[in-house]
């Protein structure tokens, strides 16, 4: 990661494909994580699928790391990407918790 320069024209030509594929996989794997988490919680999938969901989140985080490294992002952007990865991990939990509480309040 580059310390001082935010944007440098130093992405290697051979790295572009990896960058595009890994940044695409960030959201593809993220989508699998969110989809599996939600499907398990609403009983559309069995509970043992949940670790698979978290595995997809781990792959998402790895792809973010790979993408950021190859892009030579600076420290600030690296922190933004870490925040995004943690946000993606927590959002389904927060959303499910809130939805479930409101459902309970509404139904009982």
């Amino acid at each position: 990661m580059v310390q001082d320069v935010l944007v440098a024209q130093d992405i290697l030509v051979d790295d572009f494909l990896t960058i595009f594929v890994s940044s695409t996989l960030v959201l593809v794997f993220g989508g699998f994580y969110v989809g599996i988490y939600t499907a398990v919680k609403v009983n559309m999938l069995k509970k043992w699928y949940m670790p698979l969901g978290y595995l997809f989140w781990a792959l998402t985080a790895y792809c973010l790391y790979l993408m950021g490294s190859l892009m030579h992002v600076n420290d600030f952007t690296a922190k933004a990407l870490i925040v995004a990865a943690i946000g993606l991990l927590l959002i389904p939990h927060a959303v499910y918790y809130m939805q479930d509480r409101v459902h309970e309040d509404n139904e009982h």
Binding site: V7, A8, I11, S23, L27, V34, G35, V42, A80, A84
Partner: protein, 474 residues
């Protein structure tokens, strides 16, 4: 189609908006096809309808049909949400005709006059030359009056009737939607300042106010089509609004990387762009969650039937959840950070993102609203799919996905050759334009564009005839 089952004047007005929107949607696709042909056969309609004009019509028609369908959607849901007839419906009808007439005149001027001298006359009477919102200034003022009238009707109705969460969010959102248009109406001779304000319209429409609008319409659709609990849906809507505005407003920074604005926009753009996919993920969960929950409740009661009361519309709503995530999320995210956007901006990647994002995030849900209109108009309790529904949906979705993939392949070679290898030079640009990958990508884009247009013809047939099919529950 007869309005025999519609007693609400607001809903009747909504069907006018949907009808005009569908016509302009067709025009958008037609001019898109012309532009796609010109990409592979540059002499096609040369000096009759040049690429610049066909492209202008293609993207302006896109914005106009969506705005018409959005207004129609609001007029459709207002009586349901507020429990009263829309206040000022006479004004609403008058404004519809003014709006439609203005659009027809603008399109005729684009088609037959096309360009004018570089002075104020052209800005006032031909077009302003601002991508997406090229309407001449007289039409700008007309659109402003129409938008203010629409917002006034929404506010008067919202304040007089029941104040649901959906309408409250729409009231806040639509005033921003109308107000932001003003920032694209004034001319400055400094291109940086001009672009700065222009993005306020384009970005803050499509990545803030339009997304919130989609959230509201999705909430309405979940309540009406699968019987989702209002309290849950509205609670979720407020979270979506917070997340969308929270990430979307300052996400505007990713448009300020290279237009001459200060460098701190790189930091702001990078941070908020990284966060922008999160609300899209959340919206995706929301639809899945509510669908699963309501179907589960139905199954628990031993009723082996779907909870969905409008299958074509719900299909488009689900496509919206996926499409928003794919088009705005994935295709947006992979070129949104400044480090890579340095190479990708203004290439066919942008075009790939634009096609899938506008379709996935907006066209899908608005087509869904048209099916809700058809259901109401024909007094149908459960609207089922027809063969035309399946052809229309699969061909339009397949066509747009095909165009996106083709443009992505073209964009990749564009980035590598014109930017990474040849350093964004004039020579690099033309080298990229003649590379085999880019040319083949453009041929595939044309083929998939034709598939999309055929799908649109099925859609029109379906919207006009599905109400008469015998497989519905009435």
């Amino acid at each position: 189609m007869a309005n025999s089952y519609l007693t609400s004047e607001s809903k009747k007005l909504a069907t006018w908006y949907f009808t005009f929107a569908a016509i302009i949607f067709g025009a958008q696709l037609l001019f898109g096809l012309v532009a796609a042909i010109q990409y592979v056969e540059s002499s096609f309609l040369f000096e009759v309808l040049d690429f610049s004009v066909a492209r202008m019509l293609h993207i302006n028609a896109l914005v106009v049909w969506m705005v018409f369908a959005m207004f129609g959607s609001v007029y459709w849901l207002l009586p349901d949400e507020t429990g009263i007839e829309t206040v000022g419906i006479g004004l609403g009808k008058l404004l519809f005709w003014i709006f439609a007439a203005a659009i027809v005149v603008v399109v005729l001027v684009y088609l037959f006059i096309q360009v004018g001298p570089a002075n104020e006359t052209s800005i006032w009477f031909i077009h302003e030359g601002r991508e997406y919102i090229e309407a001449p200034r007289w039409a700008d003022y007309g659109i402003t009056v129409v938008a203010l009238g629409f917002v006034a009707n929404l506010y008067m109705t919202g304040m007089k009737g029941k104040q649901s969460g959906v309408v409250t969010v729409l009231m806040a959102d639509m005033i921003a939607f109308a107000g932001l248009y003003l920032t694209g109406m004034f001319y400055t001779d400094n291109i940086t300042i001009d672009q700065f304000w222009w993005w306020w319209v384009i970005h803050l429409w499509v990545e803030a106010t339009w997304e919130v609008f989609v959230g509201s319409i999705a909430a309405y659709g979940l309540i009406t089509m699968i019987g989702a609990h209002r309290k849950v849906v509205e609670m979720w809507l407020w979270i979506e609004v917070t997340m969308l505005f929270g990430s979307g407003i300052l996400g505007i920074g990713h448009h300020y990387f290279w237009i001459g604005t200060p460098e701190y926009w790189w930091e702001i753009g990078a941070l908020f762009s990284a966060l922008e996919p999160l609300p899209l993920v959340a919206m995706f969960i929301h639809v899945l969650y509510d669908w699963g929950k309501m179907q589960g409740e139905q199954d628990a009661q031993g009723k082996e039937m779907s909870v969905i009361t409008n299958k074509p519309a719900f299909t488009w709503f689900v496509l919206n959840a996926f499409g928003n995530f794919l088009g705005a999320g994935i295709w947006g995210f992979f070129h949104t950070l400044p480090q890579v956007n340095l190479y990708t901006h203004g290439t066919q990647f942008t075009s790939a993102h634009g096609h899938l994002a506008f379709f996935g995030a907006y066209a899908t849900i608005l087509v869904g609203m048209m099916y809700i209109g058809v259901q109401g108009k024909n007094g149908i309790k459960i609207l089922n799919n027809t063969t035309s529904t399946i052809f229309a949906t699969s061909m339009i979705v397949g066509g747009v996905l095909g165009m996106t993939v083709a443009l992505t392949v073209a964009g990749y070679s564009d980035v590598i050759i014109s930017r990474a290898q040849m350093g964004a030079t004039w020579e690099g640009y033309f080298s990229a334009q003649t590379t085999t990958w880019l040319l083949q990508g453009m041929y595939w884009r044309l083929i998939m564009g034709a598939v999309t247009f055929i799908g649109f013809l099925f859609l029109v047939k379906d919207l006009l005839t599905i109400g008469k099919a015998a497989n519905h529950v009435r």
